[in-house]
């Protein structure tokens, strides 16, 4: 009895905190329920491995992969270091592509001269699989960071510049006209009409580029590298360490998933003025 009333008192005292925790638990349960097919898949994985239906040398149980992942990340920091390498390269390539792609895309959309110069270049280079250029980049830039960053840049640059250009072009002429009749200068039109009008398209370009960045980083590190997640996956495979290999794979896909979700959230927040189809 007294225990129960004590608990009640504590609950009452920490009511706000309690509510926050309840909310958090509710959110967790909710997301678990939403992604239930994934949990079914994991359960199947664990079961088939434990029951010996697949060779553990190919596919160790999910739980032992998780243990390896935890150890390599937080105890030996081995995976953490490699993740850092991959992330730094992907981030640099993506960042450069975003800055140059958005700037050039806007210039293309606003200037006939830039458009007629850049457009043919894009239509020729864009269909080339960027990975095919990697050996060439290694010749020019070596097998270090530079060639990998260049490859990621190539992968990210095209979706960003094409989306930015399309976005700028699709800004309604009447919005621009309306701004000009209200006294806006060319620069003000760019800042207050063209940019906000094109931003949803630019953003979807950035999302495509994110997935390209992860694709390119893993591919380039698989081909030639001594560090990074792609290297770890290949190294683990060659040294018969399937737990480590799966850890690398899971880490890469988790990073991609989180990056995409973060961008999606940011987009929803930025474009609250737009009609949301899912609401």
């Amino acid at each position: 009895m007294s225990d129960a009333s004590d608990t009640n008192l504590i609950v009452a005292a920490h009511r706000g905190q309690g509510r926050a925790i309840a909310k958090f638990i509710y959110a967790c349960v909710n997301s678990i329920l939403r992604y239930y097919p994934i949990f079914i898949l994991i359960a199947l994985w664990e079961l088939t491995a434990r029951l010996g239906l697949v060779d553990p040398a190919f596919m160790p149980p999910f739980s032992s992969v998780m243990i390896t992942l935890f150890q390599e990340l937080f105890v030996s920091h081995e995976l953490l270091i490699h993740t850092g390498y991959s992330f730094a390269r992907a981030g640099t390539g993506f960042g450069l592509a975003a800055i140059i792609g958005i700037t050039l895309g806007i210039m293309m959309g606003r200037s006939r001269m830039v458009e007629s110069f850049v457009d043919p270049l894009i239509s020729v280079i864009f269909p080339t699989p960027k990975l095919a250029l990697f050996p060439l980049m290694m010749v020019f830039l070596g097998i270090g960071d530079a060639s990998k960053i260049a490859l990621i840049f190539m992968g990210c640059f095209f979706p960003i510049i094409i989306n930015t250009y399309t976005g700028v072009k699709s800004v309604d002429k009447y919005f621009i006209w309306n701004a000009r009749t209200k006294g806006a200068s060319n620069f003000q039109v760019l800042l207050t009409v063209v940019l906000p009008g094109a931003l949803p398209m630019i953003f979807s370009g950035l999302r495509i580029a994110t997935s390209m960045a992860f694709l390119m980083i893993v591919a380039s590190e698989l081909i030639a590298s001594n560090e990074g997640l792609g290297y770890i996956i290949l190294y683990a495979q060659r040294s018969f360490n399937p737990e480590l290999m799966f850890s690398g794979i899971i880490l890469v896909s988790a990073m991609g998933f989180i990056a995409d979700r973060l961008l999606l959230r940011l987009g929803h927040w930025l474009f609250s003025w737009q009609e949301n189809e899912d609401e």
Binding site: Y174, R180, T181, G183, G197
Partner: protein, 263 residues
């Protein structure tokens, strides 16, 4: 009728040609000339394709005429200016700005401080009856409300002339009538110069002091009709007058001639 006043807008021999890929040059406007005296409400009506919107864009400075010129208060028009306020037909207020930010847009561009332009925007929102919607986004408003925001946005720039391109064209009949009355009321307070493009004959007779009737192929002035209905006007009362019916039928007959010739 105050047509003795000095012309606010002079449209002198304005011609507009477009280059088309397979039909050669297309003459959209053929030597258009007329004047709009200060404080007069002038409508341009005509069948679709007669170039009436093009003409308005030229007066606004958004398009450049192939030849001829437009004078505003005696000065040639070289580009758009906030002194010549424009309301476009296609709900051109900015969807990414809240209503109050939309109305404050002009003053923001010309460098008015944040607090001052907010106060100014609220003043004009109250004038068009949308003060309660200041923090809404355009998508949350009806078509009629959006056009009232567009009018408030124009008023906030304090223009001396209103150039309106079928501002009520996309609205349903009832909303249209309400907005016509509101515009009349607004205009009768300080009688700014207005050039108003519409394809509605009723609307032109109801609102204007003069109606410029345009024909097409190429776009030209067919006739100019004076409207001597008493002011202040209210839609419901004006429509009952025999003079309204007479003018309406006259303008209608003139436009139908044009439309039938081309149909």
């Amino acid at each position: 009728m105050s047509s003795s006043a000095a012309p606010h807008l002079s449209i002198c021999n304005v011609t507009m040609k477009y280059h088309t890929a397979n039909r050669g040059d297309l003459l959209a406007l053929d030597t258009i000339s007329f004047t709009v005296p200060t404080g007069e409400f002038v409508s341009i009506v005509g069948p679709s394709g007669c170039g009436k919107s093009t003409l308005l864009y030229i007066v606004a400075g958004l398009l450049r005429a192939t030849s001829g010129e437009v004078l505003s208060k005696g000065v040639p028009v070289a580009g758009p200016s906030p002194d010549r306020g424009v309301v476009l037909q296609n709900f051109s207020i900015f969807p990414w700005r809240r209503i109050v930010e939309n109305v404050a847009y002009g003053p923001e561009m010309t460098g008015l401080g944040k607090r001052e332009r907010h106060a100014l925007a609220m003043k004009y929102l109250r004038l068009v009856g949308l003060a309660d919607f200041a923090d809404y986004y355009p998508r949350e408003l009806s078509g009629g409300m959006k056009q009232r925001v567009a009018i408030a946005q124009m008023l906030a720039c304090n223009p001396s002339v209103f150039l309106m391109d079928e501002p009520f064209g996309a609205l349903d009949a009832l909303t249209r009538e309400i907005l016509q009355d509101q515009l009349l009321q607004l205009w009768e307070q300080d009688r700014k110069t207005v050039l108003f493009v519409t394809h509605s004959i009723d609307e032109s007779v109801l609102l204007s002091d003069r109606i410029i009737i345009m024909g097409r192929r190429p776009g030209h002035i067919k006739q100019i009709v004076d409207v001597s209905l008493p002011r202040p006007r209210r839609s419901a009362e004006i429509r009952l007058l025999p003079e309204f019916a007479r003018l309406r039928n006259m303008v209608s007959a003139l436009i139908r001639e044009e439309a039938e010739a081309a149909a």
